[in-house]
Point group: C2
């Protein structure tokens, strides 16, 4: 039974994975917009751009030449935020605390075709990206001193993406970043208490409620989590808990690729634009622990709110208070579902 | 003695107030920029704009007419995210948890002069804004069911500000938002352990170190906190702990106004533009508790990184991992100090 209060009145919702809250103001969806509009580029891009440092056979800023790659191409970031072999140190000076952080940052080109995004790619080609993610997670995760591997994509200029060539990144490091640490703790506490997986139990509840499910296939659910922050935030998760993406079988990898394809295509239809977002996969740390409490999932955080040019700003109140949204998760899920 | 590792190698720094970390990559400051540039408006605005719903004597969307105000003008937000009298409810349905949230949202015009920002205002006029904040905190905080009052400003179109007329907002509500809750817990734990105030002790340490202090007067410090996230993030705090802004004397209020004036003017000089930011005051909840662990402070979170048009994007890694910065807090503090 739907709780209509949640569609009518200001309230906060609890994120079981982070332990934090989001403020929801459903009554506010009709306020007028007088703020900044984003520029959208409607230029159709060519399949090859000789000024793009990610296109096959082109030279990057550091002088390296990209191979004539045919599907996925991975290289170490030329301006990595994390360094592998920088000195280890600890600052513990009164209330100033710092620690060296070592890591590896890689760039992963999803396709040699400069004009495409995941939404335009064949499911079989997305599956090759999934395979590359699996291989990278496995091999980077084995490196001494690397305890976490963050796979993500920034898509669109509005998401700080400096090159439209379809690509993502993989940053790996010695400690767990804030967001991962929160999810690690919340999942662990639940696992210890109930001896079952938090996200798996949640997904079962969602399969009964049906209100927030956008798409499903045999192995995956695509849904708007109850506590979603971004207007059209979406999560893709395997129905049965897996700690990390290497546990997927060939069939599951194909179903995951299909889920990615379905949601990115729906996104592009929503405002009739190549939909910007940051996406990322949260999965078990590679810290040598059992990590049986982990259930990996991929999330999409898209900034657009009302049109291709009007985004949701996470500013003042959101930075100093809590994230805030107007349109509810249920309404967002319905709108996306209608586009599939 | 300066720790040069912190200026040379990737590391993380601990935020004593939130318990979270920021990833710092000082070696990365020289990477080239190929991404989105912001548009800047260089139009000088008129002192009165007849299409501005915040200018004196103009009519707002809901039909109300603004008075012919001479300094500060405050009204209840016409599209408030929080409602005062909406029904109270609790959702506790398996892993779905939600709670009604009641509150009041106000808009505070800093000046009738449409062309100004805090940076252009006289210290004596900023002091009137400080007084208005004090009055609002005191009176809203007394209302039954209001346990926290968040004062903030979004400045600039890039910060989601829909109207350039100088104004801020005050959102108040029944529960503590995420960021305030973290600071409440961290300050309380320290107070219980040491019987002194966390931020006061930190500020004393900073006064000795001097590396991150931008400006000071008798009662206030303006500094870049050790754990700053945004490239030119700044904190203004009273040297001696006060729980909330109502504890300021007349002289202290004047010194606070001066600190605001100094930093906003320096910001405008930095990239020769009306500098965008979100600012906010974190202070003791109005929940009827002692709150002796609180030390109020105002923070500025400005998005610009390298110029009036190139901002820092908090996207992929930052959303899924931790905030990340290139230029260190020490370098940022020095650059701002040189502009005073
Ligand atoms: O209330 P405004 O100025 O219309 O809106 C702005 O500030 C609010 C509070 O930080 C945000 O929720 C909005 O996303 C932003 O556009
Ligand atoms: O690495 P890029 O694509 O140049 O940079 C982009 O993604 C990074 C990781 O999310 C961010 O730190 C940068 O602010 C953003 O512009």
């Amino acid at each position: 039974m739907k709780n209509t209060n949640l569609q009518d009145y200001s309230h906060k919702r609890y994120n079981i994975l982070t332990g934090e809250w989001v403020l929801v103001s459903p009554h506010r969806a009709k306020r007028p917009w007088q703020g900044q509009n984003e520029e959208i580029s409607t230029n159709k891009r060519p399949s090859y751009d000789n000024s793009c440092y990610l296109c096959a056979t082109n030279t990057r800023i550091n002088g390296e030449v990209n191979p004539d790659y045919k599907d996925v191409f991975i290289f170490t970031n030329d301006f990595a935020a994390l360094q592998k072999d920088s000195p280890k140190f600890n600052v513990n000076n009164g209330l100033l605390k710092a620690q060296s952080e070592n890591g590896i940052c890689k760039v992963i080109c999803f396709s040699p075709d400069h004009s495409k995004s995941l939404a335009d790619m064949e499911v079989s080609d997305i599956k090759k990206v999934v395979h590359a993610w699996q291989k990278e997670y496995a091999s980077i995760g084995k490196i001494e001193g690397i305890n976490y591997v963050q796979i993500f994509e920034n898509k669109g200029a509005v998401m700080g993406c400096s090159n439209p060539h379809p690509h993502g990144q993989i940053w790996s490091q010695s400690s767990l970043p804030n967001e991962v640490d929160k999810k690690d703790q919340q999942q662990l506490a639940y696992y210890k208490e109930k001896n079952s997986r938090l996200l798996e139990d949640y997904l079962q509840q969602e399969q009964v409620a049906k209100e927030r499910i956008i798409f499903e296939n045999n192995h995956f659910l695509v849904l708007t989590p109850f506590w979603a922050i971004w207007p059209f935030e979406v999560m893709i998760a395997p129905k049965k808990a897996q700690k990390n993406i290497t546990e997927m079988t060939e069939t599951e990898a194909l179903h995951f690729a299909e889920a990615i394809s379905v949601i990115t295509k729906a996104y592009d239809k929503l405002f009739n634009t190549s939909f910007p977002y940051s996406s990322g996969i949260h999965q078990a740390p590679t810290n040598g622990k059992e990590n049986n409490h982990w259930h990996w999932h991929m999330s999409f955080y898209p900034p657009l709110l009302r049109s291709a040019t009007v985004k949701k700003f996470m500013v003042g109140y959101e930075m100093f208070g809590s994230p805030q949204r107007d349109i509810t998760a249920e309404i967002a899920a319905n709108r996306l579902k209608d586009l599939i």
